[in-house]
């Protein structure tokens, strides 16, 4: 059974701090890993990672994948209150459409 585990489950920081969110996976026929940000409503796409060692960046957010050790990290530097959200990690397997497995998410709270 495919498994995606995120840690920590929740995190409280102050504005300006740097945070690292973790995602480890055990997925058959792994293809890619995705990060989503979920505020009150629907998850919004952040990154898709397919190759090891290539860092993806978008402003203060960055992410990297390690396919040997089966994990990914999402870094957020100089956090702002608007970064408060649940961050979801999901893995795609090759094959049928249903094989996209989500982790339970990390609840990040950024205090002013």
């Amino acid at each position: 059974e495919d498994k995606v585990v995120q840690s920590p489950l929740s995190l409280v920081v102050h504005e300006g701090d740097t945070v690292t969110l973790n995602c480890s996976y055990e997925v058959t026929n792994f293809r890619s890993l995705l990060w989503y940000k979920q505020e009150k409503k629907a998850p919004t796409f952040l990154f898709m990672l397919t190759s090891s060692g290539i860092e993806k960046k978008s402003g203060r957010l960055s992410s990297i994948l390690d396919k040997k050790e089966l994990f990914s990290i999402l870094n957020i530097t100089a956090t702002q209150t608007g970064d408060s959200a649940v961050y979801l990690c999901a893995c795609i397997s090759s094959g049928s459409a249903r094989q996209l497995t989500f982790g339970s998410g990390t609840q990040l709270t950024v205090l002013p």
């Binding site: 995705l34 629907a42 998850p43 249903r98 982790g103």
Partner: protein, 116 residues
């Protein structure tokens, strides 16, 4: 461009009642999905469809039925609602890139369902 639209946004049911959630997408996506999200559980796949007229079971299909009569619509039905089906339901759709088998999901805004 509306993207993925879910209706209704909120619903309260009594145990044993039935209802249908509607998902509509205007991006001509082949793939559509229904997920439920419970506290601490992440998103779990209920049913999915890889094209008009086709549906398949996901991780937690019991108590739900689906239909995809038109490419743009994916309906989720609860025939006899139970308190365990209290959850937030998300519909999603995706395209399929043949060369890389990669997909990104486009989500609807969710339906908060409470079953009393």
């Amino acid at each position: 461009n509306a993207g993925v639209t879910q209706t209704p946004k909120f619903r309260v049911l009594k145990t044993g009642q039935s209802m249908t959630l509607l998902c509509a997408q205007d991006m001509n996506h082949e793939y559509m999905y229904w997920y439920r999200q419970d506290p601490g559980m992440g998103l779990r796949l209920i049913h999915y469809s890889v094209g008009e007229g086709t549906t398949a079971k996901g991780e937690v299909p019991d108590g739900y039925n689906v239909s995809r009569l038109k490419k743009q619509n994916f309906l989720l039905g609860l025939e006899s609602a139970a308190p365990s089906q209290t959850s937030v339901y998300f519909c999603a759709s995706s395209y399929y890139l043949l060369d890389t088998q990669l997909r990104k999901l486009f989500f609807g805004s969710g339906t908060q369902l409470s079953v009393l």
